[in-house]
């Protein structure tokens, strides 16, 4: 494991050899750029309503057509990319932070701390995650913040198991013993020595997690409790599109494909990273 981070060049070379991962990475990068400079890619405002142009098919002025309020679909897609990616990243950030903390503590201290934390993880894993998310969001309110936080709070268990397993093996290693011999405290050992070496599997899990969160948001949108209009997200554009699926194909095809390609991209990239980090890590 320690070798993976020190040989970053090797890692990149291995990753570049994996064509699917490269393709996935390209898609991910594409949407990143798109969401970083929305105004470059779209001349229109995402929320500008034009009743006279409701559901117009793609044209020179509106390359991806307009939606059920005459708003420019390209603009909404581009700004929606920002929202959808934000949901993915913040949710995963929260999940990863909690997962890391729980996993590190459980793995490092072991004993009853480990037993309690891991039983808690087991219990959490018993509840269907999507049910939990639905329940919490409906009882609070479907704001973008609640959505991100709730997806994060219900998605950390896998990470914590991974990190715990890594920690268990890492803490027996020589460099940990060496650090302790030099008088390093628990916190220093955990964060300076164990954490950096446990990051690789976490990176893989996080990459896949972003994809999952984007999908979850679209599912919530379908149920009417995702990111609320008029704020655009791929999920709610697609949901508006579904009711016009036969008449205004552009309103469902573009967000549908955007979600599909992005999620696919993150998955292929994640798999690629996993293979490139260490062939032994496959499939865990």
């Amino acid at each position: 494991m320690a070798g993976a981070s020190s040989n970053f060049g090797d890692f990149l070379r291995r990753l570049a050899r994996n064509r699917l991962a490269v393709a996935g990475g390209a898609v991910v990068l594409f949407f990143f750029v798109l969401s970083a400079f929305p105004n470059v890619f779209s001349r229109h405002e995402p929320n500008r309503i034009d009743v006279l142009k409701i559901l117009s098919p793609p044209s020179a002025d509106h390359p991806l057509g307009t939606d059920e309020l005459g708003r420019d679909v390209l603009a909404r897609m581009v700004y929606g990319a920002r929202i959808s990616l934000k949901v993915g990243f913040v949710a995963v950030g929260i999940a990863t932070a909690i997962g890391l903390l729980v996993g590190l503590i459980a793995g490092f201290y072991g004993g009853w701390v480990d037993a309690i934390l891991m039983r808690f993880v087991d219990v959490m894993l018993c509840f269907p995650t999507f049910f939990l998310i639905l329940a919490v969001i409906a009882f609070l309110e479907p704001s973008i913040y609640n959505i991100m936080v709730v997806i994060g709070l219900t998605g950390w268990m896998g990470v914590s198991r991974l990190v715990r397993a890594e920690t268990l093996s890492l803490k027996e290693r020589d460099f940990v013993a060496a650090a302790r011999a030099q008088g390093a405290g628990d916190a220093r050992i955990i964060f300076r020595h164990i954490l950096p070496n446990a990051l690789a599997p976490v990176l893989v899990a996080a990459t896949l997690g972003v994809a999952g969160a984007i999908l979850t948001e679209s599912a919530l949108s379908f149920l009417g409790i995702g990111v609320q209009p008029p704020t655009p997200s791929w999920g709610n554009i697609l949901t508006a599109g579904k009711d016009n699926i036969e008449f205004a194909w552009w309103l469902s095809v573009y967000p549908g494909l955007a979600i599909l390609f992005t999620v696919l991209g993150y998955n292929l990239l994640g798999e690629g990273i996993r293979d490139a980090v260490d062939p032994r890590l496959r499939g865990r």
Binding site: F127, K242, I245, G256, L260, E271
Partner: protein
């Protein structure tokens, strides 16, 4: 074997207590607690009604007594009457919805198993081949496509354009007047799209897992030994490698229960299937606390049972445990 299963069984009560504690906390952390929601929803909720609810939930008792009651009620699957306007017992509502959801889940799990295993094996054996790449992209597409979008597209194709399959529902209106075979066929036609969809979404996890297990097994010494003995590749793969790679897959079946249940919310809504997922969604939207808690707890039970079955299956299949 027996020892292993017993060891697994011992964990169950611990998990049950955990589930009960977590759900108990959840009820009491819900904004306003259990009765305020009920009273809010019903403008005619009289003082008497409130009192009845207080007594029902034992809110006038100290916390540990309340928890004790919750434990008893949970173990008898008594979640009280739903807050929905119909006021029916939560357990009755769940009972009439659960068979459909389980049927679809079991069928799609079977489908996943049948399709994902061969894909996993073949793409491991032919690692980095075109088959490997195409199947990788295909299974991930199944995971990545928004379920409700694909569902609608398939409905339009098979239901409206081609007219081969019904759009939604469980049976056709004339179901009762059909022959036995006709009724079976009618049901099968209705279940086809939902099961396919649920299965397509789950292919990725299973086939990738199978693939990586297989890769690991192939690299083991005994496979090399078998090859050295001069056995054909086909034989080595099928006889030796597959059997060993399959074992861990059994456990992942148990773990996929919660995901399938969660997915049920979407496809039951789009396909108008009166199952537990749809019921849960309606409960959540109506802030029907008893119903939501009931389904959460039942869902957790189902996961637990799924895991237990997987463990037992694993034990039965793995000679090391069987004899241990």
């Amino acid at each position: 074997m027996l020892r292993y299963v017993i060891r697994r069984l011992v964990v169950i009560p611990v998990m049950l207590v955990g589930i009960s504690l977590l759900s108990f906390l959840a009820i009491h952390l819900a904004p306003g607690g259990p009765i305020s929601v009920a009273a809010d929803l019903n403008p005619k909720a009289t003082a008497e009604y409130r009192e009845r609810m207080v007594r029902y939930y034992g809110l006038d008792q100290p916390l540990h007594v309340q928890y004790g009651r919750w434990l008893v009620r949970m173990s008898t699957l008594d979640f009280g009457p739903s807050f929905a306007p119909d006021g029916r017992q939560v357990s009755d509502k769940i009972k009439e919805r659960i068979p459909v959801t389980l049927t679809i889940n079991v069928l799609s799990m079977g489908l996943i198993f049948l399709v994902a295993i061969p894909i996993g094996i073949y793409s491991a054996v032919r690692k980095d081949s075109w088959f490997d790449r195409i199947s990788t992209v295909t299974v991930f597409t199944g995971f990545a496509v928004p379920t409700f979008w694909l569902a609608l597209l398939l409905m339009i194709l098979f239901g409206v354009k081609l007219g081969w399959l019904p759009i939604s529902g469980l049976v056709s209106l004339e179901h009762d007047s059909l022959s036995l075979a006709g009724r079976f066929w009618d049901r099968a036609r209705h279940l086809l799209l939902p099961v396919l969809l649920a299965g397509f979404g789950g292919l990725a996890g299973m086939s990738r897992y199978m693939r990586s297990n297989m890769l690991e097994v192939i690299r083991q010494d005994y496979i090399a030994a078998a090859k050295a003995k001069g056995l054909g590749e086909r034989q080595v793969v099928l006889r030796h490698a597959t059997r060993n790679a399959l074992l861990p897959v059994i456990t992942i079946l148990g773990l996929s229960v919660p995901d399938l249940l969660g997915g049920a919310v979407i496809f039951e809504t789009i396909f108008a299937i009166p199952g537990m997922g749809q019921l849960f969604y309606q409960g959540v939207m109506a802030r029907d606390v008893p119903l939501v808690m009931g389904i959460l707890v039942i869902g957790a039970f189902l996961t637990l049972i799924g895991n237990l079955l997987a463990d037992v299956g694993y034990a039965l299949a793995d000679p090391r445990i069987r004899t241990g």
